[in-house]
């Protein structure tokens, strides 16, 4: 009958595995601290890290015998931007997209104001009509309301807010195209010091991107025909004022 094994190294091997796991955790933390500390004190290292975080982190991890995890790569990418060295990726993204957000907000306000103007004019006219019909002797009030409403509606028609809104929308789209293209170019050219993309390639791709963005903007301009904002001087002095404003 076979007895229990004379030697048992199972617990030793398990202990070794546990130690390896603990060392892995520690080395991961050490790698993180080392990389960010070097980036803080060595501008060249920081630039290389921003240009190609995967490669630099892998080299550092190999040198330390540590394991590189995806979370550190992501954190590095967020911390060091390829677009603007010195700023974090989050800051650059915020800068670009906040600008877009502001333009969009402006467009939305213009739209809301225009709608408000229309409804107020309509409301005043209807009120004047109701006062005139149902409240005899209040002709003065009805006249004020009616005059105000008609003036508002006339100004709505003359100022041509629908065209202005359409132009604002077209401008918004163009600004978005231009800004996103600019952001992409910043990323391409910002990484030129590293080896993610050669300088020639970055310039070439950036140029192609710029051409594409310009073509797209021109297409938007063709689709949404721009009209000039209301200007009495242009309206009164020349018939080709609209054409002139298209040159803007």
């Amino acid at each position: 009958m076979a007895g229990p094994p004379r030697f048992d190294f199972h617990s030793d091997l398990q202990q070794a595995g546990q130690t390896a796991g603990e060392q892995e955790q520690q080395s991961r933390q050490l790698l993180r601290e080392l990389v960010f500390s070097r980036a803080e004190h060595e501008p060249e290292f920081k630039r290389a890290l921003a240009a190609n975080p995967e490669k630099v982190l892998q080299e550092e991890a190999r040198r330390m015998g540590a394991e590189l995890d995806e979370a550190l790569i992501q954190e590095t990418k967020e911390r060091y931007s390829t677009a603007i060295i010195g700023a974090s990726e989050r800051e650059v993204t915020k800068l670009v997209f906040d600008t877009l957000w502001n333009v969009r907000k402006s467009f939305e306000r213009t739209l809301a104001l225009s709608q408000w103007l229309f409804y107020v004019g309509l409301g005043l006219t209807v009120t004047a009509f109701l006062v005139g019909v149902f409240a005899p002797g209040k002709e003065m009030i009805a006249g004020i309301f009616g005059g105000g409403g008609i003036l508002t509606l006339i100004s709505y028609a003359v100022m041509n807010p629908l065209d202005r809104i359409r132009n604002a929308a077209a401008n918004l789209v163009q600004i978005q195209i231009a800004y996103v293209s600019y952001y992409k170019q910043l990323n391409m050219l910002g990484g030129a010091g590293g080896d993610r993309m050669s300088l020639d390639d970055a310039v070439k791709y950036s140029s192609e991107l710029r051409k594409g963005a310009v073509e797209m903007i021109e297409a938007v301009q063709r689709i949404v025909e721009r009209t000039a904002p209301f200007d009495l001087r242009v309206q009164g002095s020349s018939k080709d004022g609209g054409e002139a404003s298209k040159q803007d």
Binding site: F7, H10, D12, A16, Q23, E24, E67
Partner: protein, 240 residues
């Protein structure tokens, strides 16, 4: 550069030197390119001596996207030329097919024969211990074989390491001290912990998570981990 280095070392066979001189002559009118390499290997084949290129850690090359595409096509085309003037022997922690991604371009892996070296058979371990003891001038020792079998979990690296430890103890003290072997296995700065870390580094994050929470692993997860044993990627001592 590699072949010029080779040229400096090859002194025994005149034919090989001739082949290298003919194709790697620096006075030729162009830079050495892949066609010159093909000519070199074809030249080797003609004189009946193939070059064997050994690459350990091939997965490191696979991770570098600069190699994707043409490089693997070249590996494939060179490996298939007849008669064979070159042979590639690649060391990877997993099968080449498992490490391949379609973005790599060439399906180079299917010109390779896979030889899996994961765990050793019991008989192989015993033979290894016998041979080592014999080489060290010691007689066969059943206790040594048992210690190596248990302490190594039949992992090739540990078989070699524990066999060395046991042989050393027998030569020095004449007896096997299990305490010394335990200490070597547990040593935080030792080779076993280093091996465990290398194994863990070769695992995917999911596999590592399953391994760390083995008591929560489901049957399919345990089955997936059991397959790692075939590649030597299950840390020795792991009981599923």
């Amino acid at each position: 550069m590699v072949f010029r280095g080779l040229r400096e070392r090859v002194t025994e066979r005149g034919e090989l030197v001739d082949v290298l001189d003919r194709h790697l002559n620096p006075e030729r009118d162009h830079e050495i390119d892949v066609y010159d390499l093909e000519d070199v290997f074809d030249g080797f084949a003609k004189v009946g001596t193939s070059a064997v290129i050994l690459v350990d850690g091939w997965e490191i090359i696979l991770r570098n996207q600069n190699y994707w595409g043409d490089f693997f096509h070249i590996v494939r085309s060179m490996g298939q030329r007849q008669p064979h003037g070159v042979a590639f022997v690649l060391g990877t922690p997993r099968r080449l097919l498992d490490l391949w991604a379609d973005q790599m371009g060439s399906v180079y892996y299917n010109i390779f024969v896979t030889v899996t070296i994961g765990r050793m058979e019991q008989a192989e371990v015993q033979e290894c211990v016998r041979q080592t003891l014999k080489t060290a001038g010691l007689s066969a020792n059943l206790e040594a074989e048992e210690v190596v079998l248990v302490a190594s979990d039949t992992h090739p690296y540990l078989v070699t390491l524990v066999t060395y430890l046991v042989t050393d103890q027998l030569k020095t003290n004449g007896v096997i001290e299990s305490g010394g072997i335990s200490a070597a296995l547990r040593d935080p700065n030792g080779k076993v912990v280093e091996l465990m870390r290398q194994i863990r580094a070769a695992l995917s994050p999911t596999e590592r998570a399953w391994l760390d929470k083995l008591h929560l692993a489901t049957a399919p997860q345990k089955a997936a981990l059991a397959q790692l044993r075939d590649y030597g990627l299950l840390p020795p001592g792991t009981k599923l």
